[in-house]
């Protein structure tokens, strides 16, 4: 088997000190393989967001090690971590987090512009992917004009535009109704899955679990079990 996209070993993370100290991650062992959609499921407050923040290098673990595509995050200089995030990770958030002042196309171009691509090329590339996601006619509109589902599709385009090797989605469908959420997940499954790309989806929406290749169940800071819904269906 080739190197997993994400590999976590004994991740611990706590917040605060003394009386207010909370131990949120209590020894996470977790792997996400390339070419798959891996779900991270579990009750509210169990530490899912904290875990993906640690995986994305946005939060330092208190202890334990994470490697992305075989590279150890802890030993990486901060600038390299920023570069890795810029180049190899795409993000989709529950609240979309589009920048209202920018047009749809500009929003999608942000990761390319952050990587110092020429504006024109970046916008070209952004409109190509927006076309693929069925938003080719909304390029120049402000995101506020779009519906929630459309905004999440823009966010998806933004997460994919620079062809990252890891796409991290935190509750991508939580703010959407069932049908729209389903539509977004279909697009995600269709466009994000790629032999050397891993997709990590945090969700407790069990109606979309069937998109998963693997589901890691989390509770109270540890991974309790891992399901492989499709392979078990085949067995």
């Amino acid at each position: 088997m080739n190197t997993p996209a994400v590999h976590c070993q004994q991740i611990h993370r706590h917040f605060g000190d003394g009386d207010t100290r909370v131990h949120v991650l209590r020894g996470i062992d977790f792997t996400a393989a390339s070419g798959q959609i891996t779900f991270l499921a579990g009750p509210s407050g169990c530490g899912k967001t904290t875990l993906i923040s640690v995986i994305a290098g946005l939060l330092q673990p208190s202890s334990g090690s994470i490697s992305l595509f075989g590279r150890d995050l802890a030993s990486m200089p901060p600038d390299d971590a920023v570069r890795l995030r810029r180049k190899d990770i795409g993000f989709v958030f529950q609240q979309y987090h589009l920048i209202p002042a920018l047009s749809v196309a500009e929003n999608v171009a942000v990761p390319l512009l952050a990587a110092s691509m020429k504006r024109r090329d970046a916008l070209d590339q952004a409109s190509t992917i927006l076309d693929q996601l069925g938003l080719g006619d909304r390029l120049h509109q402000p995101p506020a004009r779009l519906s929630g589902g459309q905004q999440q599709r823009v966010a998806l385009a933004r997460a994919l535009v620079h062809q990252p090797r890891l796409v991290i989605c935190d509750e991508p469908t939580a703010a959407l109704d069932h049908e729209t959420g389903h539509r977004v997940m279909e697009l995600l499954a269709a466009s994000a899955v790629h032999p050397d790309r891993a997709v990590l989806v945090v969700s407790h929406d069990n109606r979309i679990f069937h998109f998963a290749d693997a589901i890691a169940h989390m509770d109270d800071g540890i991974i309790t079990s891992i399901d492989h819904p499709n392979s078990s269906a085949a067995a």
Partner: protein, 371 residues
């Protein structure tokens, strides 16, 4: 970022505009006030040497020199020539019956030294005949408000009748009174209150003479104060400075600077705080801290430059409008003042914004996952 919030953006631009305008406007008035303090000294371009009573501190409140002083000044070595200049403050009455305090300057009729270097209407020769004088532009407007400019015209001072034959380009005086230039013989006829014949003795140094030495020499021999034009100007400025008026302007300028920077920095900080999430999103997507700071600074510079441009434009317009008023004539917005006020405001605001931007750049980008 700014595009998304027109109201705050406008508020900041207005704050900068107002602040820059206030500072520049006050600076322009202050600068012209400083010029007025020495206006009548600087107007006498052909006599660099000024001799006066030791009590005299400025042109406006000068005590006449003792008779006989002129000859004693003339006889000092290093003095090329010297002539008397008589200044009288008195009341004038225009033909319409308007009463007005005026400053009369009687110049030596042989040399005509002591006149402003330029006449707007008429010539220096026009005031040679007894009973004639020239008036400054502000003075004409005060003596004959709203009337078209034409000469000759008649005014009365005490029981003497005077004919105005022209208009000088005398600089706006600190007192705001009309300035009448006439021959010393004419002025002496108006000098009923005093029996002195000169207020100042003005002249020139011989070429190559050490000015300080000549002045000391004059003081030693006559007991009078002697100084060159810039020395007298300096003394006058110091005198007026001690009267406290300029301080009021400095206070207003400081208020302008404070309100401008405070409003801009405050609005900007509110603005940045509201956009924390967006900036965090940029951070998450791999935009570097330095780039975030640069982005925020860029927006600050945008607001500053537009505000400074508007403010300066407004200040230039009002100064120009004021300059056409006879009393404030000569008021200008010196480019150094325009640049300096903008720079001061920009420096403080940019410092504040940088601190804010740094704080933003150092925040925990993981907040984007929290709703």
């Amino acid at each position: 970022m700014l595009r998304s919030d027109r109201a705050k953006c406008t508020a900041m631009i207005l704050a900068v505009t107002f602040s820059v305008f206030l500072m520049q406007n006050q600076c322009a008035i202050l600068a012209s006030l400083y010029r007025m303090m020495t206006a009548q000294i600087d107007d006498v371009t052909d006599a660099p040497l000024w001799v006066m009573e030791p009590d005299t501190r400025c042109f406006e409140q000068a005590k006449p020199v003792k008779d006989g002083a002129l000859e004693r000044v003339r006889s000092r070595s290093g003095v090329a020539w010297a002539v008397p200049l008589l200044k009288i403050d008195t009341m004038a009455r225009s033909d319409s019956g308007l009463l007005c305090t005026v400053t009369v300057m009687g110049v030596d009729e042989a040399s005509m030294v002591g006149l402003p270097s330029r006449f707007r209407i008429g010539q220096p020769g026009g005031i040679r005949p007894a009973g004639t004088c020239a008036v400054d532009p502000g003075g004409y407007a005060q003596l004959f408000p709203g009337e078209p400019v034409h000469f000759p015209r008649r005014i009365r001072i005490l029981d003497e009748s005077l004919i105005l034959t022209g208009m000088t380009e005398a600089s706006a005086p600190f007192t705001g009174f009309p300035i009448l230039h006439c021959s010393r013989a004419t002025a002496l006829r108006l000098n009923k209150a005093e029996n002195r014949t000169a207020t100042f003795i003005i002249g020139d140094f011989t070429p190559g003479a050490n000015r300080d030495a000549v002045c000391q020499n004059i003081t030693a021999a006559t007991g009078l104060s002697a100084m060159d034009r810039s020395g007298f100007g300096e003394m006058a400025r110091r005198f007026y400075n001690n009267q406290g008026v300029p301080r009021l302007f400095w206070i207003t300028i400081a208020i302008g600077l404070l309100t401008g920077t405070a409003i801009t920095a405050q609005t900007f900080s509110m603005f940045v705080r509201e956009h924390t999430k967006q900036l965090a999103v940029c951070r998450v997507m791999g935009v570097t801290k330095a780039r975030i700071i640069a982005m925020v600074l860029c927006q600050g510079l945008f607001v500053l430059s537009i505000g400074c441009a508007f403010g300066t434009g407004l200040a230039a317009l009002t100064t120009r409008a004021a300059a056409s008023e006879p009393f404030l004539r000569g008021i200008v917005l010196p480019p150094q003042v325009a640049a300096g006020t903008c720079a001061a405001l920009a420096a403080i605001t940019i410092a504040a914004i940088t601190i804010m931007a740094r704080r933003i750049a150092l925040m925990d980008p993981a907040i984007v996952f929290r709703s």
